[in-house]
Symmetry: C2
Subunit: 310 residues, 2 copies
């Protein structure tokens, strides 16, 4: 059996919390449905932007079950499953495979710093062995600015050689285009996603698969439009437009800012909440941010709020 | 009810693994019993040195139960319970309190970097609220070289003011004596532990509570001897002796090196194993390390191997 690799625009869906700081599954479901209705090709739930590392292991399992049980197609799901412990990573990964997810996005273990490639290779190998399922498709997650522990170009190659049918792709959130370019050049068989839509056009021009990007939580249709039209004459103008939106919130902590935009569009202050250690934007900061986005040309039309698919 | 704070030498006990890389509970129990028999005042199981972040949440619960059910006094236990997610931290902490542990050692959430004190304060406050048990005693865990996310002097003060009967102490593994000295000066009511025995004498001279240190896995009696004799004439010589032992393994990755010493003394190669992403010392590296320790005056007498208390 072959599994088609992911391509296009995937969204690390934001996770809403209720007044007791527990995940609000029904609002998450509505957000996921809206993202798919806007044209998102997939949902990288439980990514960095989803505050996945702030969720408990059981919460992640329960939320994934809830989404799938309520109609989110598992073939459009790429849940994040990487934790500090191979045993918990294996547990989350096995569950995702059993629920039919087309792939998983996997951080390396990130507590110990300055570990070497042999140890990181062994971590992925141990998870593959513990899951022990030929359906498993891993998308490597390289995000050194947050995890601090990154995946070298050589390590990506070793993993691909050792597990050619399992290692399906990579998300490069290094913020360093030269690294993304090197991956695209060295490993054209991988589905390579840029971690920021500011690199989308360049990524696609170099044979990449698309982008898995936080901003798609608020701007999915416009980013998806560039994905569909990257070979057109207007591609650079589309790129400039989505880049301007990202720049407009770049001065804020990204996750609280994105939630503030969702809260603004839905007129739902509940969406402002983040789990500690993150801190929510105040309503004053939210108002300033929304003003900056509007000046950048971003539509915050209250007549077309975020809504679940009918 | 008042709970007496911990004092003395506590050991972040190494976690042995079996051939399938699962925790070996019986060998952990034997190691803990040996440490107590050698004079350790307490066991900070599931610390950094214990590879706690490489253990699953369920594994940590099961191992703690095993130790207590097999006779390790819960009043000598200070399990590490800090994870990236307040919900998992609260779960581990509640379990430790319910099992009668005298305190817990709590990392801040460490996935997101550059978070501010408000977010870290809210993280600890959320755990205290979720545990909701007056018996809870928290020892803050400041280890910025590994966690990257540290606890500022101001944050320690805020937590102490907000939760005066709950925040019982701190382990300072910054490696920066000036920071430890500032904590001792500003917060004399805290039980302050240095994270390296190289600062033990200075810590005690400034009113500190003792040390929670990795090296006590191999050198507990000698470190405990300094704790008992710090006001004696020979204290500096004792400090110099234990510092020399630490320097002898400082060129190696600490956790694999300490396990290699235990493996050498017990003639039990099983003890060499670490979980990925750490990498075990080879037998050749082990032999070199043991030679360096012997030259530093460390006794590796095979006639007095590590053993369980009778």
């Amino acid at each position: 059996m072959t599994t088609q690799a992911f391509g296009g625009i995937l969204v690390p869906a934001l996770t809403p919390f209720d007044a007791r700081l527990n995940p609000d599954a029904s609002r998450l479901l509505a957000h996921c449905n809206w993202l798919l209705a806007q044209g998102a090709d997939g949902l990288a739930v439980f990514g960095t932007t989803s505050e996945a590392s702030s969720l408990g292991i059981e919460e992640r399992i329960d939320l994934l079950d809830y989404l799938i049980d309520n109609g989110i197609p598992s073939q459009q799901l790429m849940p994040g499953t990487g934790t500090c412990a191979v045993v918990d990573t294996a547990r989350l990964t096995r569950h995702a495979v059993e629920r039919g997810c087309r792939g998983v996005l996997m951080l390396p273990p990130f507590y110990y710093k300055a570990v070497d490639d042999d140890g990181l290779f062994a971590s992925y190998a141990e998870v593959v062995a513990r899951v022990g399922d030929g359906r498993l498709r891993i998308y490597l997650y390289h995000i050194p600015p947050v995890a601090q522990v990154g995946l070298s170009l050589a390590l990506v190659g070793r993993l691909l050689t050792a597990f050619p049918s399992t290692i399906a792709g990579i998300k490069d959130s290094s913020g360093d285009w030269r690294n993304t370019e090197a991956i695209l050049r060295e490993y054209p068989e991988l589905a390579t996603f840029c971690g920021s839509e500011t690199f989308l056009l360049e990524t696609l021009r170099h044979g990449g698969a698309g982008s898995i990007t936080a901003t798609a939580n608020i701007n999915p249709a416009q980013i998806r439009e560039l994905y569909g039209a990257w070979q057109s004459e207007g591609a650079q103008a589309l790129q400039d437009g989505i880049t301007a939106v990202r720049k407009a919130y770049a001065g804020y902590a990204a996750i609280p800012a994105l939630k503030a935009v969702v809260a603004g569009r839905l007129e739902a202050p509940d969406w402002l909440r983040v789990r500690p250690p993150l801190v929510s934007l105040s309503q004053a900061e939210q108002a300033t941010l929304l003003g900056e986005l509007e000046r950048a040309g971003f539509t915050l039309d209250p007549a077309t709020p975020l809504r679940a698919r009918a």
